[in-house]
Structure formats: structure tokens, C-alpha cells
């Protein structure tokens, strides 16, 4: 497995700033005052148990959910305060890789990739569209799957196509929701390599939501733990897991580290 290569992180340029974020569903308070910043060029892993609110957090960042309280700034814009037109413009600069890939199952791989492109960028020639498709398929190593339907692909291939679909719009920020969930260790390692390759090739800043320590260790510059709706610990992998916090220790011991 490739390690995340050294790259420049500009700590003077936060691309995402979250302050005092709260979110509840009925009586269940999922996020209880989240504060953090993601810097330009940084890969940040957010670790936590299933149901701890990790996915809710990135859905708030992309504007799929509204926060109850707190400020969410993405690329200088307050996500929950801007209109739908401005939000859609902002979304074109953010890639979102879904846990279950969320490929359009009535469309072929080619159509899945061209759909966001042609819907958002008008007057592209057939040649330009094909070039963009080939470029992202090459980046995820699936050039030969263009004509296949999503149902013909394996879980790992679906994840790759899902990532390719976001890359076609050349995002500045990537949000990965559980990129290795449901995959075998070898395919997981390939997806982690892909996340690192995307960081290198596209110079993205990324948030990787995961409960998999191998994923967090190999793809991130910094890790934060989400426990009981709050960030309990932040730092490098070693800094976080040398902690005395019992819940963090439990999380470490129940995971397999290579």
C-alpha cells in the first residue's frame, strides 16, 4: 500500500471552517458543538463509531442537511446562509464520494460520468466530453469499463467510478464517506491508494469519514475522533492513539492495524 506522500499544507488558508456546530434529529442530539478547520492541501480523517454523526457532518458541509446552530464556511462561503444558485456553484468545487457509491443504476458508466458534466457545463463538444471521461477513468484505473452498467461492477469498481464521477468536475475539496466500508482488505488498499493519488494529481483538500484505522492511518495528515457528538482528540495518528482516553483506546484495540 502506498503511503500518503509529502505535500504542502497551507495552514494560513482554511478551506473549511466549522464553529459551534449542533445538529439534532427529534430528541437525538447528534453533533454537540463541533469546531474544526480543514486547510488547503490537507487530508483530514474523521474517526468514530457507526451512528456517531460523521456522515451528518459532511452532509452539512455539502448543504444536504442544515445545521441547528453554528457556522459552516466552505471556500469562504457560509453554506447554510447562501441561496441555492450560490450553493450549486459551490458544490461544483466539492466532490462527494458516497458510502454506497450512489451510481445512477439506469445509466452506463459513461453516462454516469458525463451526466454531471453536461448538466453543469454547456456547449462541450463530444471530443471534450470523451477526453474528460477518459482522463478520470484513467485516473481510477477503469478505462475498459466505460460501457458497463453499474450492476456489472464489483463493490471496489463502483467506489472508483463514484470517485471518478466527482473528479470529472475537478473539485478543490473531496469528501469521502466511509470509502472502505464493505470492501475486502485488498480492494480497500487499492481505494486508499486511489485517495492518495487523487490528492497528488488533483491537489485536493479532503475529509475522509471512516471507522477504519488503516484507512485513517494511510490517507490522512491529521485525525480527529468524534465521540458522543464532540471532537475528543485531534492530531497525527500517533498523537491521537497514544491518548489516555478510554474510548479512544477501545476504538484502537477493536481495530486491526497493519
Amino acid at each position: 500500500m502506498k503511503k500518503l506522500q509529502k505535500h504542502t499544507i497551507n495552514i494560513n488558508e482554511p478551506v473549511i471552517t466549522i464553529a459551534g456546530l449542533h445538529k439534532s434529529f427529534d430528541e437525538l442530539e447528534v453533533l454537540k458543538g463541533i469546531d474544526f478547520q480543514l486547510y488547503k492541501g490537507e487530508n483530514l480523517a474523521i474517526l468514530g463509531k457507526s451512528g456517531s454523526g460523521k456522515s451528518v457532518l459532511i452532509k452539512i458541509i455539502i448543504g444536504l442537511l442544515k445545521p441547528d446552530k453554528g457556522d459552516v464556511f466552505v471556500l469562504g462561503q457560509q453554506v447554510d446562509k447562501i441561496g441555492i444558485k450560490a450553493l450549486n456553484k459551490l458544490r461544483l468545487r466539492i466532490g462527494f464520494s458516497f458510502q454506497n457509491s450512489a451510481l445512477y443504476d439506469s445509466m452506463s458508466v459513461y453516462q454516469n460520468l458525463t451526466f454531471p458534466l453536461t448538466m453543469n457545463i454547456k456547449h462541450l463538444s463530444r471530443k471534450e466530453i470523451n477526453h474528460a471521461v477518459d482522463e478520470v477513468l484513467d485516473a481510477v484505473g477503469l478505462l475498459d469499463k466505460k460501457k458497463q452498467m453499474p450492476s456489472d461492477l464489483s463493490g471496489g469498481q463502483r467506489k472508483r467510478i463514484g470517485i471518478a464521477r466527482t473528479l470529472i468536475l475537478k473539485p478543490e475539496i473531496m469528501l469521502y464517506d466511509e470509502p472502505t466500508s464493505g470492501l475486502d482488505p485488498i480492494t480497500s488498499a487499492e481505494i486508499l491508494d486511489l485517495i492518495n493519488d487523487v490528492q497528488q494529481q488533483y491537489n485536493t483538500s479532503s475529509i475522509i469519514i471512516t471507522h477504519d484505522l488503516t484507512c485513517a492511518k494511510n490517507t490522512s495528515d491529521r485525525i480527529v475522533m468524534l465521540l458522543d457528538g464532540q471532537f475528543s482528540k485531534a492530531g497525527t495518528f500517533d498523537e491521537v492513539f497514544l491518548s489516555d482516553n478510554e474510548q479512544v483506546k477501545d476504538f484502537y484495540h477493536y481495530n486491526f492495524i497493519d
Binding site: I62, N88, R91
Partner: protein
């Protein structure tokens, strides 16, 4: 301690009112978005093809059989009064004013409405609708407006087709007993049909088409709880649509009768 949730009436009745309010807002959003760019003309044509062409065989078969059966059943009572010459008029009135729009709408509610509910429900629970939204594509415009427009356009056309096929089935049955030509049969069939009847039939079909589309998309768009929710969305799309179609039929017939006198 967890507080018990308070309801205005009961959980079910409250849910029904909330559902009705949300469905109304959903319909209002359709009328707001349908005249706004982008129009997704390609997708409307594609959906019209899916709804129209793929329903043709069922509509043809049902219309033809109903035409034959209705003629056979009506002949005997008319013969008792020596009034078999009224058969084409009777079939014409039944087909144009009632059976054409109503049976077509019920077939489409079962075939198209459930299909739309299941398709959109499946897209919802597998996050495909969210995937559109994060790609800066308006899923309401792309999925809802196109489908509702297609059903609103296609159901009247299918109803007209159903009526003509039903009358043709009836003509073949009449031809077995009496000597008549297709032209004379159609002339007689439409002799008792006024402009207001045609207007009401078209208006009914448009309303039925809109209902099939809006209920199917609403149920699918709001599906929850995984595959179970998809099945429920498809099922409810059919039940609610049929219920609304019967109410609309009664209301439009009543309005037409008022306008007539």
C-alpha cells in the same frame, strides 16, 4: 425521562394531514418549477416514450376487449326494445365520457404510477437523488417535473387511443350482426357527443395524468426505510392515485353537468 410525543388527533390522523400538506407543497413546487429553465426536453421526451409507448400494448388489449364485451352486454337489453340502432351511440357515450379516460387512468396508475414510485423510491434510498443534488443538479426538476409533465401529456393521448380502439372493437362486434361501415359506425358513435363532453374528457385525462405523476413522484421522492420503503412507495402511489382519480371523476362529472344546464 423521555417525554411522550403529543399529537393533535392521533399519530395516524396527524400524519395524514402532514402528508396532505406536504403533497400540496410538492404540487405547488411543480407549478413553480415547470416554467423555469432548464426544461430537460430530452428527458421529457424519453419519459413520454417510456410512459406512452410501453403502455400501448396493455391499453390496446384492454380497450379492444372492453369494446367487444360492452357491446355484447348492451345488445340484449337494447334488442328487447328494438333499439339496437342506438348501440353505436351508447358505446360512443360510454367510451368517450367515462370508460376512455377512467380505465386508461386506472391502467396508468397501476403500471406507470407504481413504476415511478418504485424507481424514485429506489433512487432515494440508494442516495442517487442526493448524488444529483451534490453534483449541482436539481433532482426535483430532472426527476419530478419531467415525469409529471410526461404523464400529463401522455395520459390524454392514451385515453383518446383507448377510446378509438374500444370503438373499433365494438364496431367489429356490431359488424358480425349487422351490415355497417366503419365510417358510419364512428359517425353514429359520435353523434350524441357534444363539444362539452369532449372538453370534459380531455380535462379529466389531463387531471388524471397529473395526479398519476405527482403522486408517484411524491411517494418515491419521500421514500424511507430501505427496500421496504420502496415497496411501500410503489404500493401507496397506486392506492392514493386510484382514490384521487375516483374523486376527481365524480367532481368533474358534476361540474360538467352544471355547465350543461
Amino acid at each position: 425521562m423521555k417525554q411522550a410525543k403529543k399529537y393533535l388527533f392521533s399519530r395516524g390522523i396527524d400524519r395524514m394531514f402532514i402528508d396532505a400538506k406536504e403533497a400540496f407543497e410538492f404540487s405547488v413546487r411543480f407549478f413553480r418549477d415547470v416554467f423555469r429553465r432548464p426544461f430537460h426536453a430530452g428527458e421529457i421526451i424519453h419519459q413520454s416514450f417510456e410512459i406512452g409507448i410501453r403502455s400501448l400494448s396493455l391499453i390496446t388489449l384492454t380497450g379492444f376487449i372492453i369494446g367487444i364485451v360492452f357491446t355484447k352486454q348492451s345488445r340484449l337489453p337494447l334488442e328487447e326494445f328494438g333499439a339496437t340502432s342506438w348501440l353505436p351511440s351508447l358505446i360512443g357515450i360510454a367510451m368517450v365520457k367515462a370508460l376512455g379516460p377512467l380505465v386508461t387512468a386506472l391502467i396508468c396508475a397501476g403500471k406507470v404510477g407504481s413504476g415511478i414510485g418504485a424507481e424514485l423510491g429506489s433512487m432515494k434510498v440508494t442516495e442517487q437523488i442526493d448524488a444529483m443534488e451534490v453534483s449541482a443538479i436539481n433532482p426535483f426538476k430532472y426527476l419530478v417535473v419531467t415525469r409529471v409533465t410526461a404523464t400529463t401529456l401522455m395520459v390524454p393521448l392514451l385515453a383518446a387511443y383507448f377510446t378509438f380502439i374500444g370503438l373499433y372493437g365494438s364496431f367489429l362486434n356490431v359488424r358480425l350482426e349487422e351490415s355497417t361501415s366503419l365510417t358510419v359506425f364512428y359517425q353514429n358513435a359520435f353523434s350524441s357527443i357534444g363539444f362539452i363532453d369532449l372538453y370534459a374528457a380531455v380535462a379529466k385525462s389531463i387531471v388524471f395524468g397529473f395526479t398519476i405523476g405527482i403522486v408517484g413522484t411524491y411517494k418515491g421522492f419521500n421514500a424511507t426505510q430501505g427496500t421496504r420503503g420502496v415497496g411501500r412507495a410503489a404500493n401507496q402511489a397506486v392506492i392514493v392515485t386510484m382514490f384521487l382519480i375516483f374523486i376527481e371523476e365524480i367532481v368533474i362529472v358534476q361540474i360538467t353537468n352544471w355547465m350543461r344546464f
